[in-house]
Amino acid sequence: MKKKTKKPIYILLAVFFIAMAVMTEVSRIINKSHIPVVDTQTPRRGKLELEALGRGVVKFGMISNQGILEEMPNQDLYYVEGYFFEKDYVANVQTGSEILLSVGGNELRGILAAKMYNYREDTTDVLILLPEGSTYTAGEEVEFAAEKAKVTYPCTMARELVYEEDGNTYIYLLQERDSITGNITIAVKTQIHIVAANAVAVAVSEEFDSSTKVISKGAELEDGMRVRERE
């Protein structure tokens, strides 16, 4: 009598272990074949070459570390005083950055010495040191236009990583969930704010650390979707 009642339990236990063995294999196959394999890139501090965004005039004088003291003729120092009408453009440009200028048709590389937000004009006034050794017209005001600028941003990434949707920009971050399934990796849709962009790269205002992995385009992604990183 007792054996009869216990038999189903033995069968259930055996079925459970067999099912677990089978499911282990099934899970392995599913994980291998149904989860998209993705490549990733890491956002990093980098230089972006950007289009022209400001204008100014060449001046001649003396500049101290604190800024312009006063205009002093006969001093061997040329600089450009001007403004960037795209204030966001210079928001992340640090003083000391290299800026490409076009002065009188010649391309030059200047150094951003100072910048200050102009509330009245809603622009950013800047002061750019011109390199020594070139010929400028001393004292004469010359209009310039910065055609391209190579600016260092704390966080840049390839343009191909960015998705646009309803006027917003997103990237998919590869995140590891160290919980129920230990090491699963998922794609997490994350909104970003672009502060500068060119044809191949964008700079974003968000700060991602060096361990952040952005998923490259390729697979069709959804927020929270399981993915596998290519080894």
Partner: protein, 290 residues
């Protein structure tokens, strides 16, 4: 007959006690029910119910008796996509089965000697067993770690199996079980020419089968639920058992955690059901002499 011996008050009191017992049983059973019910809930419903505990929500905790929108998504996620779940499950099996088997192989002869032989220092030895059994894991942890390190088995399955095999608790229980075996039976076998090994094999083990199974069931449940030893002795994540499957419960994975709890419950319950009668006889034997 009862009416003569016990008054109406007795039966009223008995019913009251029974009601209290039912109430207590419900309280004990509630977490199991909650686990099963929540394993069928989606993330949104879980957020509504228990978001106050594991999520950022400050809503009060609500317990539902049934899921509003039952879903098998959690089970699908767990059983189809969680390879680690299976890896850890088989790790648990690899660690628990040899540990339980080894415990019985080591503990049964030791308990037999303790129960049926007289020798110098037996009481002291038994006392040492008793003290060692009462020691919490934290006390022995460092010394065990050092021994296992000397044996070069740290970060292997053996680091979990070996300390369990030489545990004192099964010896203590089996000693109490074997003490119940009448000495006359042993004497008769000895007269018939049985040696110590034959006595153990032919008399003690068959008679004490209930106690041995009881010990095996309890050991299995202890091994499979063990948390501290794997945490201390295993560093490689690929060796961790199922008991460490829930390192971080968040709202995102709560459903799968509930589902995993239900799946893990199955073998434990089945093994318990298989050994329940023996557990009773084991405990009875323990009570008589203990």
């Amino acid at each position: 007959m009862y009416g003569y011996k016990y008054g109406k008050g007795f039966f009223k009191m008995k019913k009251l006690i029974q009601l209290c017992m039912v109430f207590l049983a419900l309280i004990i059973f509630a977490p199991i029910c909650i686990t099963i019910i929540h394993s069928f809930m989606g993330m949104r419903e879980l957020e509504l119910n228990i978001g106050g505990i594991i999520g950022s929500s400050k809503k009060p905790v609500a317990i539902s008796l049934l899921p509003s929108y039952p879903t098998l998504k959690n089970y699908k996620e767990l059983l189809l996509y969680s390879q680690d779940f299976y890896r850890m499950f088989w790790n648990s099996v690899r660690q628990s089965v040899p540990a339980v088997f080894g415990q019985i192989v080591v503990a049964a002869p030791a308990a037999f000697v303790m129960a049926k032989y007289e020798f110098r220092g037996k009481r002291v030895l038994f006392w040492i067993y008793l003290v060692a059994m009462l020691m919490p894991f934290q006390v022995l942890m460092v010394s065990e770690y050092l021994v296992l390190m000397k044996l070069s088995v740290i970060n292997t399955h053996w680091a979990i199996i070996l300390p369990a095999v030489f545990g004192t608790y099964p010896v203590f229980i089996l000693t109490k079980v074997f003490l119940n075996i009448p000495d006359e039976v042993m004497e008769a076998a000895r007269i018939d020419g049985a040696g110590s090994f034959t006595l153990l094999r032919k008399i003690v083990l068959p008679i004490g089968k209930g106690g041995i199974i009881a010990v095996a069931v309890l050991d299995f449940l202890e091994c499979i639920n063990s948390i501290e030893a794997p945490l201390v002795f295993l560093k490689d994540k690929s060796l961790l058992p199922l008991s460490l499957f829930f390192p971080e419960v968040s709202l995102y994975n709560a459903g799968a955690v509930f589902a995993a709890s239900v799946v893990i419950m199955i073998p434990a319950v089945l093994i318990f059901v298989l050994g329940d009668e023996h557990l009773e006889t084991g405990f009875q034997a323990f009570q008589v002499k203990g």
